[in-house]
Amino acid sequence: MAAEAAKDLSIQELEKEGQWWWIAEKKRSRRLDYLRKAVWKKGALGGNYAPGIKVDLEMPTLFTNMYNWWKYDPPMLRRAKALAHVLDNIGIFITDQAQLVGYFGSMPNTIAWRLDGASIVNEELYNEPGIMPEPEEESLKKVAELNSYWSGNTAVDKLARVLDPEDAVKFLSGAIGWGAPTSAYGYSGKDYEYIFAGRRGFLDIIEEIDANIEGAEDRTMGMPGPDILPLYERLQNWDAMKLILEAAIRYAGRYARLARTIAENFETDPKRKEELIRLAESCETVPAHAPQTFQQSLQYDHFIQIICRLEAHEGAWPARPDYYHWPMYDKDVNIEKNITGEEAMDLVGEFMIRAYEVGGFGPRWAREGLQGITGTWVWTLGGVNQDGSDACNDLTLAFLKAARLVRVSNPTFGFRWHPKVSDKIMREVFECIRHGLGYPSIRNDPLLIQNSMHWHGHPLEEARTWVHQACMSPCPTTKHGVQPMRMASATANCAKMVEYALHNGYDHVVQMQMGPRTGDARKYTDFEQLFSAWVQQMEWIMNTLVRTVNLGRFKDPEFYGRPFLSATYERAVESGLDAVSPVGERGNCWVTFFTWVENADSLAAVKKLVFDEKKYTMTQLMDALEANWEGCEKMRLDFVNGAPKWGNDDDYVDDLMIRCLREVARHSREMKCPCGNSWPALPENVSGNIHYASIVGALPNGRRLGDALYDGGISPGPGLDKNGPSAVLKSCGKIDHVGDGRAFLLNQRLSPTQMAGEKGYQLWKAYMRTWADLGLDHVQFNMVSDETLRAAQKDPEKYQEVIVRVAGYSAHFVDISRKTQDNIIQRTIQGI
């Protein structure tokens, strides 16, 4: 629908048409409308950056200059000095009408470049067309200079020198894993209990650090002995933490100064002048002190997130805003009535917009795997308090409402559902889904708390603080629970398990012997031989990824180092160790399982058609797979339609799925992380199913090289779940969502027509009851019709704001590739 036509329709008429994005425009305040439209979209459109997006060269230049200057300093101190130099000198800006500030580039249209992470990423940046600031030639020269400085010195370069060469080559082939084993590109949890629940400002932390320094210095001046030896390094780390906290306070002070300068010299509107003064006061209060107002609470959180992003790439955004900002919201809106609900709504909406505008340069594989967005900012809402009572509040409602007004694809929400959640809240959750946002995803809180205790031994009260560490995995926000480095590269391309089991460990796509030689599949006479090969390949893939990541984590404080993150972690402030050091962390690792369901469907097809029914021989199957099913269409269709598929409540294939998962769970308990804890699996996909389309060869489930893989987690193949939504839930309910893995993603598509009105809500609620009764831990919904999506493909300009759920994240439909779009459209619409 064109903007002009939409303007003439009433909200009721637009609702009837499902034109949610135009409704949002009509309903939101003028400020939110301006700020939402002011955002430069940083997510790559199907892989390419939008016109006008430029890489920011200020941060890399400032950082490198100072890093080079302090070359004799130990790692954490050296990085702290370089980062402080950035905070003191990078260009800052305040957008008109903004009440919250902080961005990690020097202009709103810039993407940040993490240049000390990996040389291969730096080389990609040099070759990326269209993103160099003008004059391009000068920028390219600058980038080349910076690249040559960092070549061989980035975190990944340093790690590659200590990795086993065979592991390194296989990992870097891109066939089995995703990501980089360094906190330069990791995801860090925030120690919200220390900062927000503990009501600490940075000056309070500096006081704690000073006391620790004093104590340690007393000891280093005292009785000689081995116990004082580690203190020398820790003293330098404490210096680094203190130095960076002071720089962060100065950084906020720069915003305060700018806000006052604008108010006193440029602004003529008295209301805006007042806002700018309030903004200045906000930045003078936080992060130096604990926040006193709702605005300051949000501003504090945002400063922490932005500075963390100036320190490392941060691919996710673990947060629980309705929980940690609730005390200040309650004070300002309910108790002292300092601001109205509408004023608070403007702040909540802007808080989401400030996160939406954040974007860093990502290599092509990351852009393809996360089409349309720059990271998975999944914020956690709802859940329980540490005593088990319902934690939902007015701010939960405000976030759910604000989401429908600003309609951003990032951040999205994961909602911690539990039986005590009120109907009022559930209705708001449903409204977001009905408005086609694709979020919140619904998480089963009691079950995931149990899961956290089962896999990682988090005590009950700590487990109850959990946030989404990335798209899916719960992680506590406590001293020993918080995770500083999400193991991004422990992400397995699981379809390779069955592919390698069939090809004797050889990868025909990257043309390399990858896994162990488990035997010539043409000679298999019994399904158990194939299954045993599958187990060996599964273990090999998991081991290779985990070994690499474990080493990356262990060496990270030496090869990278995170002074700012450490300064906000209770355990690091206390010990003087880098936050990334495994010491003091309980451990919360998981292996993300991309492209998982293909294993069960493929194994079931071989078992049925080759070994049970003997309709085809292994030789015929292998010939067809090697020909990429070319010329074997009838046989291919037999492998698709003549063998049971996951998601239809058919025990034949479902039992195989459980058998595979139990083997994985057994192995997950055998492997240990650097903290000594387990490595459970977590099936989910982002848009890795598209990225791997050209990397995974033909499979016995009927898929060809080039086809998208299934949309992920434990979601059935698009169009293959033919027995309705209850059958999908029943298949998924056969999985033990506590003991079989860390979490299991389920995508479902519902009909917007069926979900309309009160009847739609009641149907959905009944569906959710079954979902909970069957013990599933996750579900997320797409509720946009074929008609809208096809029209958006045809006329993208008119459908810029249509949002869809891709996998663990949402994206604007027009920003994802045609292949991903088709994949989403072909997902079964479930009538419930």
């Binding site: 430069w40 800052i92 202009m107 700018l258 440029f266």
Partner: protein
């Protein structure tokens, strides 16, 4: 004597140290309008600055 930043309309000295300050500029890009700031020294050479404007 060469022109210095302190003579420029965009220069705003810091209260605590007038030798240092911010260069504050108004920018209107295709999507939004904003004020940006970057630190400059009061005595920095402004003779080659394309956006110098006398106070």
């Amino acid at each position: 004597m060469a022109t210095e930043c302190k003579e420029c309309k965009s220069f705003f000295p810091m209260n605590e140290n007038p030798e240092k300050g911010d260069c504050v500029q108004r920018v209107v890009d295709p999507r939004q309008a904003y004020y940006k700031a970057r630190p400059v020294d009061a005595g920095a050479d402004a003779s080659k600055c394309g956006t110098f404007s006398k106070k």
